[in-house]
């Protein structure tokens, strides 16, 4: 590694970080937040067996899980203008990522809801609560706990998948790396550098996941009570 490369890497790091803060992180956060809301609604209408909406949910999941993300991005950005729908690159990416990720997360949420024992509902009805009250106070919190690890997994996968947005001209951190490569012809160093930045972000997410899981585990671990008693 000579001085030139060190200089390129230092300059590249600044640009990549800037792009990550301006584009990659917002795209991931907004996209995943929307995906989560979509997933909740899609999972609930299926779980509650709402007629018509349930079929719409199945259809949506079938389409978005069954076609490649990159093709969806191209279709939305390069294809839709032919129908008169013109979107800027960033909002277009947000929409496609939300819908794509929402389809996967909907299945995660549905399976988590179905894993909550029927007896929780029966007990809820017997203390006088209605369906929505039981859902909100008892079933959904348990399902979210079950879904938390696979949802975190999806979030980390999505963070990395945002690099595909560069293909529809979104100036994310991968595109900023590509630009520097185009100028300096140092693909090995710069793509390694951008890979490390992705790794850094996913490591942060993994650590956050671990901390949250610990906090959430209180009601399905015997440990807490033993600890409490030992302290007392």
């Amino acid at each position: 590694m000579n001085e030139r490369i060190i200089k390129i890497l230092i300059e590249g790091f600044g640009k990549i970080m800037l792009a990550s803060i301006k584009v990659t992180i917002p795209l991931t956060v907004i996209g995943f937040a929307c995906a989560f809301v979509i997933a909740l609604v899609m999972a609930m209408v299926q779980y509650t067996k709402v007629p018509v909406l349930r079929q719409i949910a199945r259809f949506y999941i079938w389409i978005f899980r069954g076609t490649p993300l990159l093709v969806q991005l191209f279709l939305a950005y390069y294809g839709l203008p032919k129908l008169g729908i013109v979107l800027d690159a960033f909002p277009c990416a947000v929409i496609v990522f939300s819908l794509n990720e929402g389809a996967y997360c909907a299945e995660t949420m549905r399976s988590a809801l179905e894993a909550v024992p029927e007896g929780q509902f029966e007990a809820g009805y017997c203390v006088g609560m209605n369906y929505l009250q039981i859902m909100f106070h008892v079933v959904l919190p348990q399902a979210l706990r079950t879904a938390f690890p696979p949802l975190s997994n999806s979030l980390i996968a999505m963070l990395k998948d945002t690099s595909l947005a560069a293909e529809i001209t979104v100036a994310d951190m991968f595109m900023s790396a590509q630009k520097i490569v185009g100028r300096t012809y140092e693909p090995l160093w710069l793509y390694s550098e951008v890979a490390l930045v992705y790794l850094m972000y996913s490591t942060i997410l993994t650590v956050i996941q671990r901390i949250c899981e610990k906090k959430l585990s209180s009601y399905n671990s015997r440990e807490t009570s033993v600890k409490k008693e030992a302290k007392a």
């Binding site: 024992p117 007896g119 929780q120 029966e122 007990a123 809820g124 009805y125 017997c126 203390v127 006088g128 609560m129 209605n130 009250q133 106070h137 008892v138 919190p141 348990q142 706990r145 209180s218 009601y219 399905n220 671990s221 015997r222 807490t224 009570s225 409490k228």
Partner: protein, 250 residues
């Protein structure tokens, strides 16, 4: 006037008639033990009269109001459930709530009781079942017997007119059965009206005052518990009691 009068409850599951016309009358303060061999329809009957299963036909008169069990409205179900409580074989405590929260939830959410008051009632009910020191424990951190006692506290919290028990001790270790039965016995002596599906013959004989004996979807005997154990009328009842006592001798 009786508190609850149930007539001709019928229920079919996939072509099999499980309940073939069950009648039951409950007076205030009664402790009715529902006995019978496995598959006789005891649990289904209990679930039908609390609408966890929908009966095909039958009527129920509760506090002077008569309901058609085959065509009951949601509003009526909700109204009846606010006057009753149910204790399950496998406890069914809310897994994401502590013991105290389990007891409070029906008050706070379904009846809009303010938190401080719900908490006070909740602690009093846990006290009653001897578990006030476990208020902050989650269900998984409690033994089966403790979970069932929390479930009983939860049932008591909403001040029901009657509590339905569906084999409350069947899932418990023999050692833990006693603590649950002791709580139920206390309730009975406090005058709580109870309907108990059970295999605990000592409870049926010593605590309950009435027996409903079911076999194959029919009621074979509906008698006082003294009469049932000392002077059973039906041959099938005698056979059932013989089998049970031979089990005890073995």
């Amino acid at each position: 006037m009786s508190m609850i009068d149930i007539r001709n409850v019928k229920k079919t599951f996939g072509g099999t008639e499980v309940l073939k016309g069950i009648d039951l009358t409950v007076e205030k303060g009664d402790v009715v033990a529902i006995l019978g061999p496995s598959g006789s329809g005891k649990t289904t009957f209990l679930r039908c009269i609390n609408f966890l299963e929908k009966a095909d036909e039958g009527t129920m008169t509760f506090d002077g109001q008569t309901y058609d069990l085959g065509h009951i409205r949601h509003r009526d179900i909700a109204a009846i459930r606010k006057k009753t409580a149910f204790v399950f074989q496998n406890y069914n405590l809310f897994a994401n709530k502590t013991a105290l929260q389990n007891v409070m939830l029906g008050l706070q959410v379904a009846r809009h009781v303010p938190k401080a008051e719900a908490q006070k009632i909740g602690m009093a009910m846990l006290e009653k079942v001897g578990l006030s020191d476990r208020a902050d424990h989650y269900p998984i951190q409690l033994s089966g017997g403790q979970q069932q006692r929390v479930a009983i506290a939860r049932a008591l919290a909403t001040n029901p007119e009657i509590i339905f028990f569906d084999e409350p001790t069947s899932a418990l270790d023999p050692e833990l059965i006693g603590e649950v039965l002791a709580v139920m016995k206390q309730l009975a002596s406090d005058g709580m009206t109870m309907l108990v599906v059970t295999h605990e013959m000592n409870f049926a004989r010593n605590v309950s005052n009435k027996i409903l004996f079911m076999d194959n979807g029919y009621v074979l005997e509906h008698a006082s518990s003294k009469e049932f154990f000392e002077n059973p009328k039906e041959e099938r009842t005698k056979e059932f009691l013989r089998n049970i006592s031979s089990q005890h001798d073995a």
